[in-house]
């Protein structure tokens, strides 16, 4: 059978931004993972106590899954193909067709049915992203951005993974770029993305952004009054796990965003961006301190947990971030000092010409 030609596998920090970075680069628009993350506006914080996951509130350090796949092509004016299925047989047959046409295909899958994951990490998490790059002896070749090497998966397992049921069911999602725009001027897109992120973090309704961070730290302070030690331990562990899951490293998203701001600075030459990037690095470090304090509380079961101190660390993360977003809002006052063009050359059409 076919394998895709000249596809280069890259190892990334986060699945969704990694997949998009690989797909866009493969189609001639070289965007780094931080660029993808920043341009799509994936940075976020949400604490939704009324949405429960395994007896725990929903906590997210980024926008919800599949947000990037929707937002990035729209912002970059890329024609993009997205499809979900109700029939798994048809979904697998169409996947084979795409591969036979030399297309590499982004998919959503469940971690639980992916045998190449470490067994302890195979949670029923349905919103993992990867790229199918070919088929060999009935097995599919998977470029999973959070793994170093190309992985193989049996057709039977891939079908199960693409049609896992439950929360955030993938429903066989496939996606890839159809047509890249001739030229893209990155500057307005960067400005818009930063503005949107800063506004959301500062002014979004309660539970989201800085208000969410404050609400969560108040909740941590109050944990001791209502809950037993076991619940508190699980709650703190849950906070860290949501921050860490599938390889983003404590405050990992903050470092990715800092890398995005740095790249934006290199393109636009506005010092505010460099300053914001440095401070975002500090925010990431503060999130790591918070994660460390939570993990210590989880590990030392017998010792008393100082909830006030942990909540204080979290509030501090919020304070650092608040200053960054206020700083970023001042970006509109500055004009680009770089005269060099920041246009991306790209013009490559998908092999599925009928859809172009």
């Amino acid at each position: 059978m076919n394998t895709a030609p000249a596809y280069e596998h890259r190892h990334y920090a986060h699945c969704e931004s990694g997949v998009l970075s690989s797909l866009f680069t493969h189609h001639g628009m070289a965007l780094s993972e931080p660029m993808v993350f920043g341009l799509a506006g994936a940075m976020s914080f949400a604490y939704l106590p009324f949405v429960r996951l395994g007896h725990m509130p929903l906590i997210a350090y980024r926008m919800f899954p599949a947000y990037l796949i929707k937002k990035l092509p729209a912002r970059m004016r890329v024609k993009y193909f997205r499809k979900r299925y109700s029939d798994s047989g048809r979904a697998m047959a169409e996947l084979d067709d795409f591969l036979a046409n030399g297309q590499v295909v982004g998919i959503q899958m469940s971690v639980f049915f992916a045998p190449y994951f470490p067994p302890e990490m195979r949670f029923p998490f349905n919103a993992h992203n990867a790229i199918v790059i070919g088929k060999e002896n009935g097995d599919y070749l998977i470029s999973d951005p959070v793994f170093e090497e190309i992985k193989r998966i049996a057709a039977k397992d891939l079908e199960k993974a693409r049609f896992a049921k439950g929360v955030l069911a993938p429903k066989g999602l496939v996606h890839f770029p159809l047509q890249m725009p001739g030229e893209v001027d990155l500057e307005p897109v960067i400005r818009k993305a930063i503005k949107k992120t800063a506004n959301m973090m500062l002014h979004a309704p309660p539970f989201i952004g800085l208000k969410g961070i404050r609400r969560l730290s108040a909740k941590i302070c109050a944990l001791g009054k209502k809950h037993d030690k076991k619940y508190i331990r699980h709650f703190l562990g849950h906070l860290v796990r949501m921050q860490e899951e599938i390889g983003t490293g404590g405050g990992g998203f903050r470092f990715i965003y800092a890398a995005f701001l740095q790249e934006a600075y290199q393109l636009m030459g506005i010092p505010v961006l460099e300053e914001a990037s440095n401070r975002m690095t500090a925010a990431g470090d503060a999130w790591r301190m918070f994660a460390l304090a939570c993990a210590k509380a989880v590990k030392r079961r017998e010792e008393a947990i100082d909830l006030e101190a942990i909540a204080g660390l979290l509030r501090q993360c919020g304070e650092i971030e608040k200053k960054i977003y206020l700083l970023l809002k001042s970006l509109k006052k500055y004009k680009t000092t770089n005269t060099a063009s920041i246009q991306l050359p790209s013009a490559k059409c998908s092999s599925r010409g009928d859809l172009c």
Binding site: H11, Y12, K165, R241, E244, I256, L292, A295
Partner: protein, 135 residues
């Protein structure tokens, strides 16, 4: 985070599965991708939650053996699911799943419902119907 301070704690979970990537700055303050063998913090919280599920599964196994609960509860914990997740995966209401945890109701479950549970848990149907001989 600076490159040289990226933790390399050789997490047990990830050993044999390669490395992860994080973003960190070099001496000049430039961001780059850095490979890591893991951070102890991740390992602690992962082990804690996995251990919790294992405890619950073990307790459910013993109770299922003595007929106090149905095997569904054992597999639910074993697959890191809770009632909400299981109900969502089955596409039925939570109270129905809760009912299926009663041994008396479980015994009368139709083969098709049983089959759907088996598929969701990714196990052989026999594991559910002949739980005591197989687990």
């Amino acid at each position: 985070m600076e490159k040289k301070r990226v933790p390399q704690d050789a997490n047990k979970t990830y050993s044999g599965y390669g490395t992860k990537v994080v973003y960190a700055v070099d001496e000049a303050g430039r961001y780059d991708r850095v490979q890591t063998t893991g951070w102890e913090v991740e390992e602690i919280v992962l082990r804690d939650v996995v251990g919790d599920f294992q405890e619950k599964a073990e307790s459910a196994r013993r109770r299922a053996m003595s007929g106090q609960t149905s095997p569904i509860e054992y597999f639910m914990h074993k697959r890191y699911l809770d009632l909400t997740g299981l109900a969502k995966g089955m596409g039925i209401a939570k109270w129905r799943v809760k009912r299926h945890l009663k041994p008396s109701v479980f015994e009368k479950l139709s083969p098709s419902v049983m089959q759907r549970y088996a598929e969701l848990f990714d196990i052989d149907l026999k594991m559910l119907t002949h739980f005591k001989e197989n687990v």
